[in-house]
Amino acid sequence: MSEHQSVWRKYIFSLDHKMIGKQYLFLGIFFLLFGGFQALLIRWQLAYPEQPVPWWLLGFLFKGSGGIIDPDMYNQLFTMHGTIMIFWAITPILIGAFGNYVIPLQIGARDMAFPTLNMLSFWTMFLASIVLLASYFLPDGTAAGGWTSYPPLSLEEGGIPGHGQTYWTLALTLAGTSTMMGAINYVITVIRMRAPGMTYFKMPLSVWGLWLTSILNAIFVPVIAAGLIMLLLDRLLGTQFFLAGRLAAGGGGDPLLYQHVFWIFGHPEVYILILPVWGIVSELLSVFSRKPAFGYKVTAICMCTIVVLSSIVWGHHMYTTGMSPLLGKSFMFLTLLISIPSSIFFFNWLLTLWKGSLHFKTPMLYTMAVIWVFAIGGLTGLYNATVTADIYLHDTMFVVGHFHYTMAASVLFGGYAAISYWYPKMFGRMMNPLMNRIHFWGTFISLNLVFFNMMVLGYAGHHRRIYNPAEYDFIKPLMGLNEFITYAAIVLGAFQFIYLFNFTWSMFKGPIAEKNPWKSNTLEWTVDYPVPHGNFAEIPQVYNGPNEYSNPKVKGQDWVPQSVQIESAG
């Protein structure tokens, strides 16, 4: 095999789960920046409606509309911001990158069960990305129906003309196909490829989170795929599945059916995104508290319970659609039930910290931030879950703030924790801790200023997705707060460049990492960098759980690799 071919195979069409994980990471970071930039433009419009976008926010992009963001562009911005952040940033980084990189290494496998399918999964995602980006260059612009793309707004007839929405639907269907391929691989890899001795309750909680996420993906992605196919046919072939009223020639279908289909997938999707973070947080808290994860089995069982409950609560997104009050109460009851397992493992996190030997390394700082933002996001979720409160709060900025606390903030900090933690294994070097600390505090403070104040705005009645809030008398007194949030968001955005710089700079100039810089027990730290394709020359035998820190039987150190018998460790 020639040198050129081997490079091609090694870096582009690689079958190695670690390289595919890195490919997903770079793709996700690109879209994170792109989606984040769009967020700043949305914030500019909300603070300074119909005023020219400044040069430092690339105002020249809007010269066709006199430098301002027009209503159509604004619709496109918030649609694509949501779509990109959820499906092209969070999903590739947490599930694509860390699912790929971490699962085989932590369970002691040599690769994914189906490496070729794994590679196809990434390239299908890449194709989906091209379709999505191509939609920006269409004459009528990209999709503008919101990230949920409810019909009839998302339909051609009586909705959004042009091909942008069609490209969106196609891109999302392709991304869903990619996710399905990955999910099947992850589920089977965990079931079939675990090293000898690696029982389910010896798996690190990070693997639990990623595995359960994949199970949800395998079940619910086909559901949204069905909805998207129907939406696509409505737009392209003139079917009327989601069209009703006078626009539907033959009586038509029902737009609400799409909402049901969307949220049957959409609510599990929330857990699809957050479960990997919960797993990573549970794992890292134990590592940096130097003690076993409190209630390890209970945490794993709680995550399983949440997976089941998440499948039957979609109706809480639809309280205001005129559903039967009895049905609304049922959904409310089921939704509030989720707070029980969530609270249990939340307290498990706190009890892991209790009397631990806390090491505030940067991954730990990000992990602690997840606890804070998830507490706020989780507690404000109770208001949205309650029918009476939700009828007032629905479609306000309160929902946006809550959603960003749970999804954006938790997942962002969880992602930063994961990158910082596994960076030495991925790139063989350490990130600069000072830059990470500066980034952490800048991000933590500004992020809370942005998202908490969004909830304040919503509580005061500020609706989401409105083009010009200053047009409404009752919002005018809140415009000062809108401006403040925008500046906080700009600060938040600016701090991300510190992390980006650190991430890139450390890859080449960071100090060489030792084999196990965090003194962790899990199997990935037993192999040297660079980890070869195949990971382990010898498949390890697993003896211990992942969190045997400060075990009194182990003398001389407070950790013991999972592949070392505790009796022999001392």
């Binding site: 079958l15 040599r110 690769d111 069960a113 189906f114 490496p115 399905m180 999910a183 099947i184 589920v187 089977i188 079931i191 079939r192 490829m193 000898p196 395998a218 079940i219 619910f220 992605v221 086909p222 559901v223 795929a225 069905a226 909805g227 196919i229 129907m230 046919l233 072939l237 003139g238 079917t239 009327q240 599945f241 020639a249 033959g250 009586g251 038509g252 279908g253 029902d254 059916l257 049901h260 289909v261 049957i264 070869p532 394709h533 195949g534 990971n535 382990f536 020359a537 010898e538 498949i539 390890p540 035998q541």
Partner: protein, 193 residues
């Protein structure tokens, strides 16, 4: 300790492949459950009306029987090949493939008859759903036909074939038969309500 050479290509075992196909089929099932649930919801809300004449129903059921026979022939071919490793079983597989093709063309023909009788996908939402389910099943069937054709070519040319591949392609083929029977039964029952 289990030892492995890291230069050995990574291959998954038989049970892993079987589990893979089971999860894949489960996911495909979820796709069709969503279609069928949507169809049921539309019927329950009386969003539109669809009536198939006795002749139409007979053609549709007859066509489904072809798929059942195709599945049985594939199974017979597999069993004969498994027992004797005889390449003569290629005749069963070819027959199975041909019946699959006939079924597919039958579906298209029935579709055209229904459209010409006024059941347009654009104006009748239940007809649209039926066409969508038949179409989605047809796309999966096309993939299946490619696999079955591949098995036939291997047997016909006497090229050794891995039993697991043969078996898993069979699973997929039988799944498509079962799926269509369930979809068709559900559609015929729901439109009678």
């Amino acid at each position: 300790m289990k030892t492995m050479d890291s230069t050995v290509p990574i291959q998954c075992d038989e049970n892993t492949s079987k589990l893979g196909i089971i999860i894949l089929l489960g996911s495909i099932t979820m796709l069709f459950i969503t279609f069928l649930s949507t169809f049921g919801a539309m019927v329950a809300k009386e969003l539109s009306y669809i009536k198939l004449s006795g002749t139409h129903q007979a053609i549709v059921v007859g066509n489904a029987c072809l798929m059942i026979v195709s599945s049985l022939l594939f199974d017979s071919g597999f069993r004969q090949w498994q027992g004797t490793k005889s390449t003569r079983s290629h005749r069963f597989i070819l027959s199975s493939h041909i019946l699959g093709l006939v079924f597919l063309f039958g579906q298209i023909t029935i579709w055209q008859i229904l459209v010409s009788d006024g059941l347009q996908s654009g104006t009748n939402v239940l007809a649209g759903m039926t066409y969508l389910m038949a179409g989605a099943h047809g796309v999966h069937l096309l993939t299946g036909l490619v696999f079955v054709a591949w098995v036939w070519v291997q047997l016909y040319r006497g090229i050794p074939i891995k039993p697991l591949r043969f078996r898993l392609i069979g699973w997929y083929w039988h799944f498509l038969t079962g799926l269509w029977i369930i979809l068709l039964s559900a559609i015929l029952i729901l439109i009678q309500i």
